[in-house]
């Protein structure tokens, strides 16, 4: 099978980071999908030898440094989500597009809930249900990627 070039992975993460750093404000800040997490899950499913729990932890740390929150919150949550994705990796590649999308939605919801718990413990306020709309927008972005040229590599057989 074709080896995935490390440069492509790095480029995609850089692009997602730039999207994350954009000046989102107001309602858009709540609806913003977690670009880095989606790119992470994509590479985890496609090339787990390149991108694994360690890389997930580093990506989470980068998000923490950029966001100004407590160092280690996003790192912990991303590492846990990556673990969930990797441990079901072999089964995931047999799913079709919609089943994979459902699993990714579950991963996103788990990630948001963990982050919510961590933020409440470190003194945040309850933001309400709008906090979880980022999962839905993330799902939309994942579906876009799945149906595009890059999504072909996620399936081990055609739908």
């Amino acid at each position: 099978m074709r080896q995935v070039s490390f440069r492509l992975v790095l480029l995609s993460f850089l692009l997602a980071y730039v999207c994350h750093l954009m000046p989102w404000s107001g309602l858009a800040l709540w609806l913003k999908p977690e670009f880095m997490l989606l790119v992470l899950i994509y590479w985890l499913l496609r090339a787990p030898y390149l991108c694994n729990v360690g890389s997930a932890w580093l990506v989470g740390l980068a998000i923490d440094l950029a966001t100004g929150s407590l160092l280690g919150q996003h790192a912990l949550v991303y590492a846990f989500t990556a673990f969930l994705a990797v441990s079901y990796h072999r089964r995931l590649t047999l799913f079709n597009v919609w089943q994979q999308a459902a699993y990714v939605l579950i991963l996103l919801v788990i990630e948001r809930s963990l982050l919510f718990v961590l933020k409440i413990f470190s003194g945040g306020e309850n933001p309400g249900l709008i906090y979880w709309t980022a999962c839905l927008t993330g799902l939309v972005v994942w579906l876009l990627v799945s149906f595009s040229r890059f999504g072909l590599h996620l399936q081990s057989r055609k739908v």
Binding site: M1, R2, L14, Y17, V18, C19, H20, L21, M22, P23, S25, G26, L29, W30, L45, R46, A47, P48, Y49, N52, V53, G54, W57, G60, L61, A62, L65, A66, T67, G68, S69, L70, L71, G72, Q73, A75, L76, A79, F80, F83, V86, S87, R90, T93, L118, K119, S122, G123, G124, E125, N126, P127, Y131, L152, H153, L154, Q155, S156, R157, K158
Partner: protein, 391 residues
């Protein structure tokens, strides 16, 4: 002809190295250690500062589309809009200049009246003009980033205002930018005064929906909807008299003796990008014999604004040495009202006692010795420490 099977390649199945679970345990432990270190100690701030300076080109790239859009919008505005805006601004400038003329004469009259009452004087705080670079990225924390940093001699703790009122305080300073926490953030509070009747209270940020909370006020407090709240200047951080917020709702709950008061800040972070960063107030010395302030060397006497004080009401805007001296003088003149005065004052009894002894030593007349029965006074209720913002 490429068959469909050649177009996509199945994902890799075999990964070597420690099992994912072992990796997870390791990284979870590492994350918890990092969170503990970051929340208790400040070691990791250097890493954060370094990281932000490294990723500043990425940040510039990320800001580029919105900057482009805004500059395009400014270029493509129609002539009719510009004429309308011009008319509106001219009218506003005329109204402002009328008010300003009255203000200058009122200011002179005010300082003359205050000079009649013997008092200490404070100085007007110099400030720097900054611009908002972007709003905070975390919806849990109300912060904005400003384009002035340690290069421009900004220090944490400085007050930030805009033309309408108080915005917040500087909490983190990097080399070319700094983070300003808004007063609506959960970690900040600001001592205020109701403009109408002078009642003092402290307003806390609630951390959600951009409102302020005034807790611990009894249910029968004299406060009405649409009252304006101004800073009382007690904390020594925000100057006195700046508009903070407007009361939006007052409700009473049956089971609580306190009223539930919600205020909406007047300053609009959403409206415009220019902010004023005020310098921290300087310390001021007091000349004990004459009970007037010795101004710092670089401030002219005509720039000083006096503050009024009467013997039965001590203004807390005075700095501590000035206040101690005034309390000492009042206690010496009225030994019978000593305890009442001590309750009003917000200075430690030890400081008052030392001020009394120095004042008595300087005086040649014989007055009855003043006992050190000054009871401990309540501390000023302000908590404006630039704490590390949660999450």
């Amino acid at each position: 002809m490429a068959s469909p099977l050649e177009l996509h390649h199945p994902p890799a199945f075999f990964v070597s190295g420690p099992s994912p679970f072992a990796k997870l345990i390791f990284f979870v432990a590492l994350s918890i250690a990092l969170m503990a270190v970051d929340s208790r100690m400040q070691y990791l701030n250097k890493i954060r500062t370094g990281f932000i300076s490294v990723t500043s080109p990425l940040q510039a790239i990320a800001n580029a589309p919105s900057e482009l859009y805004q500059s395009l919008a400014r270029q493509l505005v129609t002539r009719a809009e510009l004429i309308k805006k011009n008319d509106r601004l001219t009218k506003q400038a005329m109204q402002n200049s009328m008010i300003l003329q009255r203000f200058k004469s009122l200011e002179i009259e005010n300082s003359r009246l205050r000079n009649l009452l013997v008092a200490a004087q404070t100085s007007i705080l110099p400030s720097k003009l900054g611009e908002i670079v972007h709003m905070g990225r975390d919806p849990f924390v109300h912060k904005v980033t400003v384009n002035l940093g340690s290069h421009h001699k900004i220090v944490p703790g400085q007050a930030v205002i805009d033309d309408k009122g108080v915005i917040g305080q500087v909490t983190n300073v990097y080399s070319n930018s700094s983070e300003v926490t808004l007063i609506t953030d959960k970690s900040l509070s600001i001592p205020i005064q109701i403009e109408r009747n002078g009642l003092r209270a402290v307003a806390f940020g609630r951390g959600r929906d951009y409102t302020l909370d005034l807790p611990y006020l009894p249910a029968n407090v004299d406060i009405l909807k649409d009252d304006i709240l101004i800073t009382s200047g007690i904390d020594g951080v925000y100057p006195e008299g700046l508009v903070v917020a407007k009361i939006a709702s007052i409700t009473h709950q049956q089971d609580s003796p306190f009223a539930n008061i919600v205020a909406v800040p007047v300053a609009g972070v959403m409206n415009h990008r220019q902010l004023l960063l005020l310098n921290l107030p300087q310390k001021i010395e007091v000349d004990e014999k004459v009970n007037r302030v010795i101004p710092p060397a670089n401030i002219k006497t005509k720039d000083l604004m006096p503050i009024g004080i009467t013997t039965n009401q001590l203004s807390p805007v005075l700095t501590k040495p000035a206040l101690a001296n005034t309390v000492a003088r009042t206690v010496i003149d009225n030994p019978s009202q000593q305890s009442a005065i001590a309750k009003l004052a917000t200075v430690k009894p030890a400081i008052i006692q030392s001020a009394i002894t120095t004042t008595l030593a300087a005086e040649p007349t014989s007055k009855p010795a003043v006992r050190s029965s000054v009871r401990s006074a309540p501390k000023p209720a302000n908590i404006v420490e630039p704490a590390h913002a949660p999450g």
